[in-house]
């Protein structure tokens, strides 16, 4: 068992959660944005978390534990039976829901009918997402603290 591998796991998760918080911040910042490079109003972004493929050590251990790889709950069909030691962001996707229409004929981005398309961003949803990201970030950072404590204490073995 490698104690530093645990710090990679937790550190990767902290990175992913920070990215999620950044995406939430971008969504909130652009809540009223009606112009984007691709045209039309800003679209809400989501992050998609995916578990990393299990490292060979874990897979060996699983294979010896179960005799086969099919008896564990599958994360998805492609990596059935693997234990994932970490997490990564597999994609940042755009919300495809229709933009909100607000009647404002004086607005430079108003359509022929006088309605302006605004991004469909609900501050409540974003805040809840941000809270989740913050809590998960804190959880993983306390895991890093714990791992540091373990590594430091293992150094005590050689001290006399």
């Amino acid at each position: 068992m490698n104690l530093f591998g645990m710090m990679d796991t937790s550190g990767g998760a902290m990175q992913a959660e920070r990215m999620r918080a950044e995406v939430v911040a971008a969504n909130m910042a652009n809540a009223e944005t009606t112009r984007t490079a691709s045209g039309g109003p800003y679209r809400r972004q989501h992050v998609v978390f995916a578990a990393n493929q299990g490292d060979p050590g874990f897979l060996d251990s699983l294979a010896s534990a179960t005799g086969s790889s099919g008896t564990l709950p599958a994360l998805n069909a492609s990596n059935a039976g693997s234990v994932a030691p970490g997490v990564h962001i597999s994609a940042v996707v755009e919300d495809q829901s229709a933009p909100l229409k607000r009647y404002d004929p004086g607005h430079p981005d108003a359509g022929q009918d006088g309605y302006v398309s605004y991004p469909d961003i609900n501050p409540l949803t974003e805040m809840v997402d941000l809270m989740g990201a913050t809590r998960a970030y804190g959880l993983n950072s306390s895991a890093v603290q714990a791992e540091k404590g373990m590594i430091t204490s293992s150094l005590e073995i050689v001290k006399t």
Binding site: P85, L139, G149, M150
Partner: protein, 122 residues
């Protein structure tokens, strides 16, 4: 009477530290995936693994990897993920304490050995 550097207790402690580190690693993996849709919390039966490791020490068997299995009885959220923040926090604290206990005991072992080495008072 023969004298060896590695005692039965120090071998057992070695396995104990390995298992405690393994438990912490599993917990860290679960914590990292707290927001991954469809992820299932993984765990191991620490007591059963430790019993097996102690038998292994007595029989001179090489250490083997612990059995890792999905944890039963957790409530899954709508996205299919069943990692519980509180359970993982408790597990990590427990693994950390176990590790520190193992380290402290191993230090005592080493200290005893050093005391024997320095028994001539020099």
């Amino acid at each position: 009477m023969d004298m060896q550097i590695e005692t039965r207790l120090s071998c057992q402690l070695e396995r104990y530290l390995d298992l405690a580190a393994g438990q912490a690693k599993l917990t860290a993996a679960n914590m990292a995936n707290i927001d991954t849709p469809g992820y299932r919390a993984m765990g191991m039966d620490f007591e059963a693994e430790m019993r097996d490791a102690m038998n292994g020490v007595d029989q001179g068997r090489a250490p083997r990897r612990p059995h890792i299995k999905a944890v039963d009885g957790l409530i899954a959220r709508p996205d299919g993920n069943n990692v519980s923040m509180d359970r993982e926090s408790m597990n990590l604290a427990e693994a950390q304490l176990k590790f520190k206990v193992g380290v402290a005991l191993l230090r005592v072992q080493n200290q005893n050995l050093l005391d024997a080495i320095h028994a001539d008072g020099k």
